[in-house]
């Protein structure tokens, strides 16, 4: 059964790239351009994994992550944060907000794919 992934990023190029990648891996992909769109999409139909950018207008990644974790129905939803800040401390902040994983930009696309597949429990095709 194909897994569903929601990609959230305000950077159109990144969005394009990641959407393409996830489709290639055979996942069901949806996109959102900011935090509010993301939560709307999640409410419509909860995905298995959310690729969540941190620096976004309206509601940032931490906020969205907290909102996701605040809902017990979504406790199995995986949240992988993408961020432009690379220090160890930022990772901890992400985990404190409830993220499952944390990827720094610029990232290697291969790395993203591996991690996503890993969290979804899918062996590499």
């Amino acid at each position: 059964m194909p897994r569903s992934v929601l990609v959230v990023d305000d950077e159109p190029n990144i969005l394009l790239c990641l959407e393409f990648l996830m489709k290639k891996e055979g996942h069901d992909v949806r996109i959102a351009r900011d935090g509010e769109e993301a939560l709307a999409e999640i409410r419509k139909s909860p995905p298995d994994l959310v690729l969540l950018d941190v620096m976004m207008p309206k509601r940032n990644g931490f906020d969205v992550c907290e909102a996701i974790r605040a809902n017990p129905e979504w406790k199995d939803m995986r949240v992988v944060m993408l961020t432009a800040k690379g220090r160890d401390i930022e990772r901890e902040k992400g985990f404190a907000a409830g993220a499952d994983d944390y990827i720094t930009k610029p990232f290697s696309t291969r790395d993203v794919v591996e991690r996503v597949n890993g969290w979804l429990g899918v062996a590499r095709a």
Partner: protein, 709 residues
């Protein structure tokens, strides 16, 4: 003419006259020549005898005493002799010796007074000199004072450091063996000219000086003789009270570090602007080719794509490296310093209590962190006030949770975590009282930190701020320290240690009790064989929290010598306890601190033995219930062999600071004890009575083991 000669002549003349007169009288009266001759001879002899006697008397009663007095007086004039002037009695000098002695005494007094004044003045000068030296020592700028012959009169430690401890830097050495003379001589000339003008026309003086000086000093750049460094310096003239110039003062700062960091930044920027042109150029070219030319062959396409991939990877790598270097640079240039957490937290606590009526309790083991003290204090106060406003809470705990590379400053309260949007909003507010209107975000950036809120178990929440932890040189373990500080079973174990308490107390839940965890240091390991306490340290634990702001820390005069072996362990010397009170006094104070809390120690029997003895001497009784953290941990982890305090702390991830100081060990024991409470709870031991039973049982076990040995 000498007095003796004069008197002799006078007496002789008198005798002659008398003799002649007598002769004339006889010649007139007597006719017979023979009787006349006989009479004259007799008269002559008599007169001579009289004269001799008179001379003798004058000599002994007048001449000799006068000579004696003269030599005494001249001796006193020439050197200092404190023996009184005395003339043998029986002289005809009347009050002259007395007057001479009075004069001598006056001279002696005057001399002593002068000496006293000179000594006092010298001492004052010495004091001033040592004050000056102390100030100079403390300056971070190098200071060298020279006389007009360019000989060094004074210099400070900073000068030695900045100049790299050269051999040529010493008193009475020439300054020009260290620094090149031309800039200094030139500046001295200018300063002298200023000086001369000062009396004349002050406007002309300030005009000529411009921006190079401030009226008293002039800036200059001088070089070291070995041409290794350039120093930015200031030169000022030293004037005597008369106004004449007696020397000059040269001050210079160590700008090496600042310049270095500036240079590094320049380098970083330059690298980006210069080094990245090339890869960006090839990237641009390849990308344009791929984008705009559809007529590329598959091969060509593949080649260009490889170029793009390669250059992008290279730029990425370089970028990561730059980021790392920048992070390191950024951290180094702010005025951060080592801060002792509990000191800062107590200040924060006091401020918030006084100004906002909030209760902030410092908890946890104190640690050292690296931060800007003032800014951190402002940030914490601001944040706690904001949390209070948002959640309505009035009580908070403030502590530092040690992590791998960071210490996490944590504000804890009962309630929910704060949403990240709210925390974000706080970040942009300027901190009241911060220099330059710095915001919370500025403070966080400056410390390379972050701020977030988290939920904690049991309905609590916290706000975390990671700070760089500091590796403080731990109290060095003395050579040959025994790994097990626990003494072998010995007679002083007191079976009454765990005497039962009231039924009601036994039912009391451990979590709700107030404990005072304490540790003592002593002159040795035998409380009943002459060893005495030298210090007691303690900390209060309430509701499972270590209140690092409520401590007891006292040195004790043991009333006996402190063996060098024990001083090596606890660092307490006879000097340190010389004017400290004896054990009974301190123990009475300790009793006041403890109240009726439960006493906890690591290997309690040892500490309690000392405590009971001292209490008896003070006439008070320590009726408090006692628990032993060592016995409890033996019960919980009986498969482990090393139960020294350091090992137990290490197992529980507790940072050991101040090992072998009474307060330090008490803090560590308290942290261990709090964790033990958790472990006990996991084994369903929750009341005091249960803990007491276990302690008795463990003690019995250890006694049996010891008997078997």
């Amino acid at each position: 003419m000498r007095a003796g000669v004069a008197i002799a002549i006078i007496l002789g003349a008198l005798s002659l006259v008398a003799f002649t007169l007598a002769g004339i009288a006889v010649w007139q009266g007597a006719g017979d020549r023979a009787t006349l001759g006989a009479f004259l001879s007799v008269a002559f002899v008599i007169v001579l005898a009289l004269a001799a006697i008179a001379f003798g008397l004058f000599s002994t009663r007048l001449l000799r005493p006068l000579t004696h007095l003269r030599s005494e007086l001249s001796m006193r004039a020439q050197t200092r002799v404190d023996r009184p002037i005395e003339v043998a009695p029986g002289h005809w000098l009347e009050g002259l010796p007395g007057a001479a002695e009075a004069l001598r005494k006056a001279l002696q007094t005057a001399r002593s007074e002068t000496e006293g004044v000179v000594t006092a003045a010298t001492r004052r000068a010495e004091e001033q000199k040592s004050h000056l030296e102390a100030i100079l020592l403390d300056l971070s700028e190098g200071v060298i004072v020279c006389n007009l012959a360019h000989r060094i009169l004074l210099y400070n430690q900073a000068a030695v450091r900045i100049l790299g401890a050269p051999d040529a830097l010493g008193l009475d050495r020439s300054l020009f063996a260290l620094l090149t003379p031309e800039p200094i001589l030139h500046t001295l000339e200018l300063l002298q000219a200023d000086d001369d003008l000062k009396g004349a026309d002050s406007d002309a003086v300030s005009a000529s000086r411009g921006s190079a000086g401030d009226g008293v000093t002039r800036r200059l750049v001088c070089g070291t003789v070995d041409r290794e460094s350039l120093l930015q310096a200031r030169l000022g003239l030293v004037h005597e009270s008369s106004g004449a110039v007696s020397g000059y003062v040269l001050t210079f700062a160590d700008v090496g570090g600042d310049l270095e960091s500036l240079a590094q930044r320049e380098k970083l920027l330059r690298e980006v602007t210069q080094e990245w042109r090339r890869p960006l150029a090839s990237l641009t070219a390849a990308a344009e080719m791929l984008g705009e030319h559809e007529s590329l062959s598959a091969d060509e396409r593949a080649q260009l794509e490889t170029v793009v991939g390669k250059e992008v990877r290279a730029i990425n790598q370089h970028f990561e490296e730059l980021t790392r270097r920048y992070d390191r640079l950024a951290a180094g240039s702010w005025p951060l310093a080592d801060i002792h957490s509990v000191d800062l937290f107590q200040v924060v606590s006091r401020h918030l209590a006084e100004r906002d009526g909030l209760v902030v309790t410092p908890v946890g083991v104190p640690v050292w962190v690296f931060a800007d003290s003032h800014l951190l204090m402002l940030a914490l106060e601001h944040v706690i006030r904001a949390i209070a406003d948002y959640t309505g809470n009035r009580a908070f705990d403030l502590g530092v949770v040690p992590g791998r590379a960071h210490g996490y400053v944590e504000v804890t309260w009962s309630g929910d975590a704060i949403p990240s949007t709210v925390v974000e909003a706080w970040l942009v507010e300027p901190l009241p009282g911060a220099v330059g209107n710095r915001t919370l975000r500025d403070m966080i950036e400056q410390h390379g930190s972050e701020l977030w809120s988290q939920t904690l178990p049991e309905g609590r929440a916290c706000l975390r701020l990671p700070l760089r932890a500091v590796e403080r040189a731990a109290h060095p373990a003395p050579a040959g320290e025994r790994t097990e500080r626990v003494p072998p079973w010995s007679e002083f174990y007191d079976f009454d240690l765990f005497r039962g308490s009231s039924e009601a107390f036994n039912e009391a839940p451990l979590r709700k009790l107030t404990f005072v965890v304490f540790d003592s240091e002593a002159t040795g390991l035998r409380p009943n064989e002459g060893d005495e306490l030298v210090s007691i340290g303690a900390v209060r634990v309430v509701n499972g929290r270590v209140l690092s702001g409520e401590t007891f820390d006292r040195l004790i005069n043991p009333g006996r010598s402190i063996p060098a072996a024990t001083t090596r362990i606890h660092g307490i010397t006879a000097d340190m306890v010389r004017d400290k009170p004896p054990a009974p006094v301190v123990i009475a104070q300790f009793k006041g601190f403890v109240g009726d809390a439960v006493l906890v120690a690591y290997n309690a029997a040892f500490d309690m033995a000392f405590l009971h003895r001292g209490a008896k001497a003070a006439g008070i009784a320590f009726g408090n219930p006692v628990l032993d953290a060592l016995l409890l941990s033996v019960y919980l982890q009986d498969d482990i062999s090393d139960f020294s305090l350091t090992a137990a702390a290490g197992r529980m991830g507790i940072e050991v600071v101040g090992r072998h100081t009474a307060l330090g060990d008490a803090m560590v024991t308290a942290a261990i004890f709090v964790k033990l409470l958790d472990l006990l709870e996991a084994r369903e031991i929750t009341t005091f009575g249960q803990a007491l039973r276990i302690s008795k049982w463990m003690m019995e076990q250890r006694r049996q083991e010891a008997d078997l040995k």
